[in-house]
């Protein structure tokens, strides 16, 4: 059974976990970031980070250095560090963008972070010790529209980005001040900063809503507004495989095993797909088993009296969805485990809920094809 937590009626735009998921940072569709601590079986609000002046669009929590980075529509990003007195202190990062920031991610070694923006560029930021501030470098060409999503390769150098110009790209974000010279990967050997390593389009239109490198970095998968899931395997000559699904578009995804991805979006229900080198296939819907089993005929009597109680109506014209989430899922993140082996993942939605899904039950029900 998935664990559901409700954080009110406002949509949850984004969320991030600390290293042991004892703390949660999320944004209720406004300029604030709320930090919750788990205590006594409940999430207790421990801090409100209110430095942004417009809506927060991305949050990422670095597990080892325990820093939070946030970005917002106000064209700014802040790096928050925990002070000894328990308060979070913000440090402004000058991104030098003239449009909203859309997404932010710490690099695997947490020495830099990348911010996508509507200014059609990615700001890669690193900390300069001499001046005690964060410096940003831009990746511009050949991005032609808003950068909607980004994800780092495990080697801390390569960056995948999806954009509303219908393309998914892999760039090098090598910064000589903080990075060692990288070894060659399946994506290429020359990686100067801003170099376009690969560019993909799945042939039909649709903004790229979410993108993710697999645990090894050999594969990159993205989801588009044409209800498709695409996977590129760099180890196999950059072969592109696309699955056009029959659901509403997905907006977020993450790898949970070397060959499995979990996706979620406008159909309000996460699903697990598997890539075997040739095809992308659906292997499980995380929402299916539990809720359907409870739909017995006795349920309708209870529903009838409940709607009578709540709304003084005898109509069984319920607008409740059968899925756990009652509205679009905005983000799916790994809760426990890694991209190589994720045991639990969490989803936040426009319905104000945060749900934690147990992926181990997938293996038990025999749908494990990793």
């Amino acid at each position: 059974m998935p664990d559901t937590f409700s954080f009110g009626i406002d949509p949850l735009t984004c969320h991030a976990w600390n290293h042991d998921h004892s703390q949660l940072a999320l944004s209720p569709n406004n300029h604030e970031v709320h930090v919750y601590k788990w205590s006594d079986g409940k999430w207790k609000l421990s801090d409100v980070l209110a430095e942004h002046v417009q809506r927060v669009t991305g949050i990422d929590w670095a597990p080892k250095s325990n820093r939070i980075v946030t970005c917002g529509v106000d064209r700014n990003a802040y790096v928050w560090t925990l002070q000894p007195d328990g308060k979070w202190k913000p440090a402004l990062v000058i991104l030098r963008i003239n449009r909203a920031a859309t997404c932010v991610k710490w690099s695997p070694l947490e020495t830099k972070f990348a911010v996508g923006s509507g200014a059609r560029l990615i700001s890669v930021c690193y900390f300069e010790q001499e001046n005690d501030w964060w410096v940003s470098k831009h990746i511009k060409k050949p991005i032609r529209s808003t950068v909607t999503c980004i994800d780092w390769h495990p080697n801390n150098i390569l960056l995948a980005c999806g954009s509303s110009d219908f393309k998914a790209r892999v760039f090098s974000a090598y910064i000589k001040e903080v990075d060692e010279k990288p070894n060659a990967t399946s994506w290429g050997s020359k990686m100067p900063f801003g170099n376009l390593m690969a560019e993909f389009s799945n042939g039909s239109g649709g903004w790229v809503h979410g993108i993710s490198f697999s645990a090894s970095g050999e594969k990159v998968a993205w989801v588009g507004h044409d209800s498709s899931i695409s996977v590129v395997n760099a180890a196999d000559g950059s072969k592109l495989t696309t699955l056009k699904t029959d659901s509403l578009p997905f907006v977020t995804l993450t790898w949970i095993k070397e060959n499995n991805i979990v996706v979620a979006g406008y159909d309000c229900s996460p699903a697990v797909f598997s890539y075997d080198g040739e095809n992308v296939v659906l292997i499980a819907r995380l929402d299916d088993s539990e809720t359907k089993q409870q739909q017995g005929s006795k349920f309708s009597a209870m529903k009838h009296f409940r709607s009578l109680d709540n709304r003084a109506t005898v109509e069984s014209n319920d607008t409740t969805l059968e899925t756990v989430h009652q509205n679009t899922v905005t983000q799916v993140t790994i809760y426990a485990g890694t991209k190589a082996n994720c045991t639990k993942c969490s989803t936040s939605g426009i319905d104000g809920q945060l749900v934690i899904w147990d992926l181990r039950s997938l293996e038990n029900s025999g749908s494990n094809s990793a």
Partner: protein, 150 residues
């Protein structure tokens, strides 16, 4: 005053054309394809092979061409094919199509709604229902998002 301030022609300049951030559609290699030959389609329909006519039309659809006239003409041809089907034949036909063909068919169904004639909407709605039951919501979404218009 040296400047002519009487003319308000400047108000009709489309400033977005000059914006350096304007998104330029990728130049796709234009296809010379003109779509299915109408006489061929008519001949196949006369032989009563409705499904073959549909397949031929779908396989020769002019997706890459920028010529609007060609596209309009082909829409009329496909519409004619769709309306020739009897209601009970539609189900079988839809089940024999593969995914790209299904998406393409859904595009033509929506285009067909733009040219209503006697009883055409009802027939198209039947087509829509059958294609939707196989293609699902994703099929409809792709009609909206695919850059290759029909």
């Amino acid at each position: 005053m040296a400047k002519n301030t009487g003319s308000s022609a400047f108000r009709r300049v489309d400033v977005d054309q000059f914006s350096e951030e304007k998104y330029e559609e990728e130049a796709v290699a234009e296809d010379e394809a003109n779509g299915p030959n109408e006489t061929d389609i008519q001949r196949i329909l006369n032989e009563g092979r409705n499904f073959d006519a549909l397949l031929h039309a779908l396989n020769t659809a002019p997706l890459s061409t920028k010529n609007q006239l060609v596209k309009e003409r082909v829409v009329q041809t496909v519409l004619k094919v769709l309306l020739t089907f009897k209601s009970n034949e539609i189900d079988v036909a839809v089940k024999s199509l593969d995914q790209p063909q299904l998406d393409l068919l859904m595009k033509y169904i929506y285009r067909g709604f733009e040219y209503p004639s006697d009883g055409s909407s009802a027939q198209l709605l039947t087509w829509h229902e059958k294609v939707f039951s196989v293609g699902g919501l994703g099929c409809i979404i792709r009609v909206l998002t695919d850059r290759k218009r029909v």
